[in-house]
């Protein structure tokens, strides 16, 4: 009996620990049951609930407006507010909250009121902007992005276990860009923003020297990440990458707090099925523990363990579907053909030299 109780106690401790460390992250892929309601952009990896989009299609507008009229008459909601929602305004972007390291199997979760969480959205110009947590069958964050550049959204969950305070920081970095706004600053890699005032520990993705608004990570390409603690680079932070198919790789940050990660192509498709626009997701996890005596909810703790997560997409490598050799072959072939064509054409148009002969006799 004693033994069983002991095992149960140990088991429940382990379970709480596992739960506390269970990685929570922000994802822009909707759960299956919501897929039809969601519009996603491949290019910038954003998702939006269709009815929240800045939908300017006239027909849709009409349809939606009628629907909104009906809805409002039923629910008695403010018609004007509905109209604004359907008639334009900014698109509302969403991020789902997921739990588990496996991108494929991570569950979509909701946060209850007993959870100590905070959500923050920072604009490219480091301004705090509104973001809300929508609760329903699943939970998601909803926000607008009106400035051009990278937005950072954070979901921070605190949970004490034993003598350690676990802080799970789920971050997403989303680029808001429309080609219609032009590309004046395309040579300027969009600045990487980090916010020690929001989270002590943070991972940032360093920009490539010529990264522009259309930059996309690709399999085989190198990405550099840097771990920062209170704004300073940290050595020895553990960074793990998980790809959609389950490939995992763990590395430690160097003395500059940096790691280089190369996404592998962990899937193979037939030539005909190769889709260069297909996005595969990765999840980056980072762990860092500091020994620090702190007080949380009037209780003392001796350690803080940071669990940082960030997810983004990558595409198949360009070299998989483009061929410079074939480009050169076509180029050279057409060059040779057109030179020969011109040569033959010119030769044909040459007229033989004819000497003018005067018949002197005719003069007489």
């Amino acid at each position: 009996m004693k033994k069983t109780v002991f095992i149960l106690i140990i088991f429940s401790i382990v379970l709480t620990k596992v739960q506390a460390q269970e990685v929570i992250w922000l994802s822009n892929t909707p759960p299956d049951f919501m897929k039809k309601q969601v519009k996603s952009s491949g290019m910038h990896r954003w998702s939006a609930i269709k009815q929240d989009r800045n939908n300017n299609q006239y027909t849709n507008k009409k349809k939606n407006y009628k629907k909104s009229d009906k809805d409002s008459s039923k629910t008695g909601t403010n018609n004007k507010a509905n109209r604004r929602q359907y008639y334009g305004g900014s698109t509302k972007y969403v991020q789902w909250i997921r739990q588990g390291s496996s991108i494929k199997n991570a569950s979509y979760i909701c946060l209850d009121d007993s959870t100590d969480y905070s959500i923050t959205l920072m604009s490219p110009v480091s301004k705090k902007e509104p973001i809300e947590l929508i609760k329903g069958k699943t939970c998601y964050l909803k926000f607008e992005m009106n400035e051009e550049g990278y937005y950072n959204a954070y979901l921070i969950i605190k949970k004490p276990v034993g003598d350690t305070l676990y802080i799970n920081i789920a971050k997403t970095e989303l680029l808001n860009h429309s080609c219609r706004n032009g590309h004046h600053k395309k040579l300027e890699a969009r600045p990487v923003m980090h916010y020690p005032e929001i989270t002590d520990f943070e991972i940032i993705r360093k920009r490539h020297p010529y990264e522009d608004y259309h930059y996309f990570s690709v399999s085989g390409g190198d990405e550099k990440y840097q771990a920062l603690f209170k704004g300073k680079a940290v050595e020895g932070a553990k960074i793990t990458v998980n790809t959609q198919k389950g490939w995992r790789n763990t590395v430690l940050t160097d003395k500059n707090g940096e790691v280089d990660i190369q996404f592998i192509q962990d899937y193979f498709s037939n030539w005909q099925e190769l889709n260069r626009r297909k996005i595969h997701y990765y999840l980056l996890e980072a762990d860092y523990t500091v020994k620090q005596d702190i007080e949380y909810k009037a209780k003392p703790y001796h350690y803080i363990h940071y669990k940082f997560t960030m997810s983004d997409g990558y595409r198949p490598a360009r070299t998989m579907y483009t061929s410079m050799v074939w480009g050169l072959i076509v180029f050279l072939l057409v060059t040779i053909l057109s030179i020969s064509g011109i040569f033959i054409y010119k030769e044909r148009r040459k007229r033989p030299y004819k000497e003018l002969e005067f018949n002197e006799k005719l003069k007489d």
């Binding site: 299609q57 590309h183 395309k186 040579l187 483009t322 074939w326 076509v330 050279l332 057409v334 148009r349």
Partner: protein
């Protein structure tokens, strides 16, 4: 008096030499300017190609193709306004220089002039189209302009139930020689490729490579070969009349000597033949002003800006520019070679 002297100085000057230097400076700005943090605008009336890493701006054609990839309903709502705004930006720039954007600023035009110089240096002869071909071929640029407008619209809206593949987005950029050739000047060879993603991309990128090859060979045998087919030039012509920079002709003073036609790189016959029109900027003209330089009749051809005369044809200017060249050399320099004459028959 001072003013008159200054005007006389301008009329006697060698604008072609000035143009040569302006072209070099423009080429450097529009190919490398971005590296020096120069930013201009994204709706320029020339091939300032955003595919070139150092480009300080963007060409209007890519903008218009992106913008038109939209549904009819959006086109007539706020998106329509955005399209008009970008057209207005294009016009703000265009209005100042008219077609001189082509003659003085466009990097692709400059490149063609340099290829012509190389040909001259190597001693190869050049060709001109005969009148019939000239008339037939000049339609191509309008066709390209219409296609680059209709294809993006067709991708979103399906005309006559024919679905157009997404792979044809920005269709002109896909076949534009500037996209492939200009990045080479920054050491970037990444635009030389065939995209095997799907049949459309294979066809479009192959066409692009073919056009680039034809561009190089064509520019070698024919002056301003590509400009003759350039949809930007067609677009310029639509708005040419509202521009502040103008080229006018006084038909009464024209003796139809044909000097202007002989020096014209594009081969515009009307510049000599047309003694009726006052505005003599034709759709293929690039306002290079070579014809004004070669015109020996006082005030026959004139360049003006907002009504202010800038550069007039004068007998004195004509002889100044061509002095130092013997008459035979001069005739040789402006006379089309024998072969050309044959072809134009």
């Amino acid at each position: 008096m001072q003013k008159l002297k200054f005007k006389q100085y301008i009329d006697n000057s060698n604008v072609s030499r000035f143009r040569f230097w302006v072209q070099i400076i423009s080429f450097f700005i529009f190919v490398y300017g971005g590296y020096f943090f120069i930013e201009i605008a994204s709706r320029l009336p020339i091939f300032s190609c955003p595919y070139v890493q150092g480009s300080p701006g963007g060409c209007y054609l890519i903008g218009v193709q992106h913008e038109l990839n939209t549904s009819w309903s959006s086109l007539f709502s706020f998106r329509g306004l955005a399209i008009l705004t970008s057209l207005a930006t294009f016009l703000v720039f265009f209005i100042f220089l008219n077609k001189a954007w082509c003659g003085f600023v466009c990097p692709l035009g400059t490149l063609q002039d340099w290829i012509t110089k190389l040909r001259k240096f190597l001693g190869f002869s050049f060709t001109r189209y005969d009148e019939m071909s000239f008339k037939k071929l000049k339609v191509i640029k309008y066709m390209l302009l219409v296609l680059l407008i209709l294809i993006p619209l067709g991708i979103r809206n399906t005309f006559f139930g024919i679905p157009l593949p997404h792979g044809m987005h920005t269709p002109f950029c896909q076949i534009c020689p500037a996209r492939i050739i200009l990045p080479l000047f920054t050491g970037d060879t990444s635009q030389i490729f065939i995209d095997f993603t799907d049949t459309t991309t294979i066809i479009m990128t192959s066409l692009g490579m073919m056009v680039a090859a034809i561009f190089l060979v064509g520019s070698f045998v024919k002056k301003r070969f590509f400009c003759f087919f350039c949809p930007m030039s067609a677009l310029h012509f639509i708005f040419s009349k509202i521009s502040l920079l103008r080229m006018t002709k006084d038909g009464d003073k024209c003796t139809r000597c044909g000097n202007c036609y002989r020096v014209c790189d594009v081969g515009i016959r009307e510049i000599a033949d047309d003694v009726i029109s006052k505005n003599i900027v034709k759709d293929d003209c690039m306002l290079c002003v070579k014809c004004v330089e070669a015109c020996p009749e006082d005030d026959c051809l004139k360049i003006s800006f907002a009504g202010i005369p800038l550069f007039n044809a004068t007998q004195e200017g004509f002889f100044k520019r061509y002095s130092g060249t013997s008459l035979t050399e001069y005739i040789k320099s402006i006379e089309p070679n024998k072969e050309q004459e044959d072809e134009s028959k």
